[in-house]
Assembly symmetry: C2
Homo-oligomer: 130 residues x 2
């Protein structure tokens, strides 16, 4: 089975988000896309990407002189990993307090709150049915 929970460092998050947007893509592309924000050189980007391949976060395919990268984990998987990390460590696995804390943390508009309510309603229905 594939690795259950992925955890990304901040640099890796930056890279993989760019990859999701542009894949399949080469390292120079990613470097350019990120350069404005990060100031990273080609070498830096390349090193991180190759390490991510080693970890199974990306795949690399060599075509002539070009290495094409693709994501090996979905955004959902990665998000889930991040969530689980926080859940386990910061909240001892307790979801409700985590959601609660999230609600307190942010400036949610009334609309967003309403949206969340309907999400919960849906969820309730599903839970009941299944």
């Amino acid at each position: 089975m594939p690795k259950q929970t992925v955890e990304l460092t901040e640099a890796e998050w930056t890279i993989i988000k760019a990859v999701w947007q542009h894949e399949p893509c080469a390292a120079p592309t990613i470097q350019e896309k990120l350069h404005r924000r990060t100031e990273w050189t080609y070498s830096t980007v390349r090193t991180i990407m190759d390490r991510m391949v080693a970890k199974g976060l990306l795949t690399a395919e060599k075509i002539r002189n070009l290495t094409l990268y693709r994501s090996a984990v979905t955004r959902q998987q990665a998000q889930r990993g991040e969530l689980l990390y926080a859940l386990k460590n910061a909240f001892n696995g307790a979801l409700t307090p985590m959601v609660q804390s999230l609600l307190e943390t942010g400036d949610l508009s009334a609309e967003e709150l309403t949206e969340l309510e309907s999400l919960i309603k849906q969820k309730k229905k599903k839970t009941g049915k299944k």
Copy 2:
């Protein structure tokens, strides 16, 4: 002003949770408390704790031959830091999808869902009023 967002490593989470439970406390105490779970030696625990002092996560007070540690950040602060990290990196700052993902992730009972609903209601009221 105090450092705005704290981020803890997994080992640091383990330590600080024990500190919150026992503070003020000495390193040997923490080591004992955690030993069953972590197998860490005194040296390991001590090193982590001292590094945490250097980072401002704990404080240390020396009393004769004893070093007493206390947390320098609250559970809320630490949780918030973890949340913000996930929010920023995994969810590009968008709260709603994060809550959504959280709802999908876990097995929330009907009761918990109801609890969340009332939390949202409260929040709505407050937002409106202020």
